[in-house]
Symmetry: C2
């Protein structure tokens, strides 16, 4: 029985979070950016001025405004100020080269580019090279035009009438092919923001350090989550372990999000020490499961880790390794194995399946592999201007992640591999992640990545690329022997190379590069 | 620019919270009911069996199922199990008399009544007296038919396709006139549940004691909030301070909600003592602002209070006295004054206004009085079968609360009085709440209620009804003198009576009874 609401529903939108905190937490510090501070009252005022300035440039619904900026206040302001005009914000990956930026600016038809001073060298030519005219606004530095615009602007603020409106487009990092523009609606961003606040236990007491790029999946929707509760954002223009430790200490940071790589750097850094005078730090991590060794080292530093999983297409982490309190009674190695799972849909995260090639669910036995598929309110509306890619990704209402995993009997999903990363050796499927974890369990190993190398007899064979802890040594032979003690011999690497791991601009290991390396050297 | 979702959105419904926790927290204790325990796995199974049993009785969309039960597991099961059939749950006030129950059962046309053994004496005749046939299911006791039904049922579970579907009808307590049936939709209950979890900082570690009636505004949507995070519910069939203290100790309770009256009883009880071996207790309270004295006494017991405000029509507390951390630096009396405010819309709570009789907003000066009005996603869909009352309550999309208040410059609303409780003396408006707080600041006073008495010269005059702390004494004269030291003399009561305060079944002070008493004795 459906009923008509007598009071009109309000569209769910993350803009409502800033509107509320701008009033309720008006005098509270919203953003710490080096030596400068913005209160929520000031932030809300600046955001409204940005919206007003953009409107005066003719920006409104249907338009796209791109931003190329590090994790400073400008980018947070744009996350709210652009949608407040009805336009769509396009946060750009700060590590892209000029031609890649031009491609994106042209693809979405950006009318305006906000570009940080330190990125102008790549950003301005990218706008110049585009086939259409793009208004460039300089953020900070000697060429700053942003502050003038804000000072002269008539404030503007409007929430969307339709929660299905286009809030943002986030381009995939595009390890293969051209980047695709992932469309975010207001409803999904609102709900994901609520879920992130709830699961991270954010409150107005929290201080959130921006180690995760704010351009990446809209910063996992933490711009909204942190703002919703009136917590303090701490900017971080560049990921630098010494600076992170300094800021943690100076501002008594309670929360940060980071890939395991960043966590490894933090643990290795000479400033790493438990800080009993500070509160524990809640860390959400994604990308790769944290190894048992890393989890232990982090626990010693009073850093509590939650493992999340998601993609640009899912508004960031739509799956969380939820830890029932009972898990704490598990022995450390069992706990680490549980925490390495990707988990279950978050509180707003819809549904998850693991699908066999023939389209049926694989048995929930923790063994049978299939492709992870998701549906719900936090799945993208599709790829911008690419109906065909959208149809392939969401053929039947279920978004195909391209990740292979198993379903455990308790409903937790655990990834085994990216579809294309699986190693097929002598007809047997080998999950590279399993090999990686076996290698990483050696005390000398900091990180390991395993890919398929060509093999004359078996077709493919696991090849391992490994970085060691500072001052640690181990031979390839010993590492292979160590691995064979943990997993079946046929899964052990036949070759081990010691080297730094190549990464995408968002910190993912570039396995395709490693595959080239594995086969070049063959 | 609106976009079409390629993956269908899922209807927002609190049913999704149980579905998720039934899987994720399957082995975790969901409900403690005396000596018995239900895990979330068991709870979900029982709920599905209840839904299956109801369907076998022909219950489905468009039907109403009423429940008359104390705060035990049956009522929580019904909050999920009835809507899982597509039908609407009608939680009944356990203190109503038989004819009142009959009125409600007839008004909504309930097809089934679930009735607890201890309430059968009033509930069964109420169903018998109704003009239509009502199937009665007995919960517990020697006549139990519920467990048989569950045991024989084929489990059933279906979420609504439309988040505007009718989840529940909650009848107002009806201090004047017939109770009205307030219609709750799934969307509002889902969002309100999220907000309550977020603001109360509930997590899977929490233990929630059911001091607030679960029938009252759907238990402020805490049945969903507590379930969403996988926390443990603790049942409480009857509000008894000794039992509350015992359960707090036995289960290390972290959260409860209660009217100030219950908190006063807790503070007064001989078992009241700080429990340093336990965690602090988070309490949300509504109905009346907690007095400074009560706040201090609670703080000594490590009970941290948040003041909320809402009505049945707003899914419970849609307004919260949000406390920015900076408030903690305020002197105790200033902090108490701030905490006495009703506050701001909660994180999902939409918008609030204070409206003058001519329909404009009063100045936000903390002085000008007007009627508090609300709109957003957590406003009722209307009164069941009463379009005229709905139109009066929501004439223009804004729900009129009937409460008078002021808007502070920082956007916080503070109630001054129920419209009908205001005292007009010599042409001056006196807010009874201000008089009550002045009286309650006397150390001997436990609680005070002030109403208008008739006065030959001034028209009306404040008459105070006061309860004292055990062993405390104070004369009426001294109390009037004390009050005049705090507020203008014309606002001081001209008469003070010492007596217990009459209450509605939900704990609200029955001011209309006091007005009768004030004028009977005149």
């Amino acid at each position: 029985m459906a009923i008509d609401a007598t009071t009109p529903w309000e569209a769910l939108t993350p803009l409502s979070f800033l509107e509320r905190s701008g009033a309720v937490f008006a005098d509270r510090t919203a953003f710490i950016d080096g030596a400068s501070r913005l209160t929520y009252g000031e932030l809300f005022d600046r955001v409204r001025r940005l919206a007003g300035a953009l409107r005066e440039q003719g920006i409104g619904p249907g338009d796209f405004v791109a931003v190329l900026a590090p994790n400073r206040h400008h980018l947070l302001e744009a996350h709210f100020g652009v949608p407040a005009t009805g336009a769509t914000v396009v946060p750009l990956n700060t590590r892209l080269a000029t031609p890649e930026l031009t491609y994106i600016l042209e693809h979405c038809g950006a009318r305006t580019l906000l570009v940080a001073d330190e990125l102008a060298e790549r950003g301005v030519p990218a706008a110049d090279d585009a086939a259409h005219d793009i208004e460039v606004v300089h953020l900070g530095g000697s060429r700053d035009t942003y502050e003038q615009l804000l000072a002269a602007a008539r404030p503007w603020w409007q929430r969307p009438d339709d929660e299905g409106s286009l809030l943002a487009v986030n381009y995939t990092s595009g390890t293969t092919g051209r980047p695709k523009g992932v469309m975010y609606h207001h409803r999904g961003a609102y709900l994901q923001g609520m879920a992130m606040a709830l699961h991270s236990r954010l409150s107005s007491d929290s201080t959130f350090l921006w180690t995760l790029p704010m351009f990446h999946c809209n910063g996992w929707c933490f711009p909204y989550a942190v703002t919703a509760v009136g917590a303090t954002h701490v900017g971080l223009p560049r990921v630098d372990p010494a600076e992170i430790w300094r800021l943690i200490e100076e501002h008594d940071v309670s929360h940060l999000n980071a890939a395991p790589t960043v966590l490894i750097d933090l643990v290795r850094h000479p400033d790493a020490r438990p800080r009993p005078e500070h509160r524990p730090i809640q860390v959400a991590t994604g990308g790769a499961p944290p190894s048992p060794t890393l989890l232990e080292q982090l626990a010693d530093l009073r850093i509590e880790v939650t493992h999340l999983y998601g993609l640009t297409e899912t508004f960031g982490p739509s799956v969380i390794c939820e830890e029932p309190p009972e898990w704490r009674d598990l022995p450390a190695d069992q706990l680490a194995r549980r925490k390495a799972r990707q988990g279950v849909p978050n509180a707003v995260g819809g549904r998850i399946r693991v699908i066999a090639p023939e389209g049926t669910d694989v048995p929930a036995d923790g063994q049978a592999m299939g492709e992870v598929a998701l549906r719900g309110n936090t799945i993208m509306a599709g790829y911008l201007h690419d109906a065909e890619a959208t149809r392939q990704a969401i053929p039947d209402g279920w978004f195909r992640t391209g990740d292979l995993g198993v379903m455990h009997p308790d409903g937790y999903v655990e990834l085994r591999d990216r579809s294309k990363d699986i190693i097929v050796s002598g007809g047997e499927n080998i999950a590279s992640i399993e090999v990686e974890q076996a290698i990483a369990s050696h005390p000398a190993v900091a990180e390991a990545a395993v890919v398929a190398g060509q093999h004359p007899r078996w077709g493919e064979t696991p090849v391992a690329f490994v970085t060691l802890h500072a001052d640690a040594t181990v031979s390839a032979e010993d590492l292979i022997a160590h691995t064979k003690q943990r997993i079946a011999s046929y899964k052990a690497p036949t070759r081990v190379e010691f080297r730094e791991l190549p990464r995408t601009s968002t910190g993912k290991i570039q396995k395709y590069r490693l595959r080239e390396l594995a086969n070049d050297a063959e």
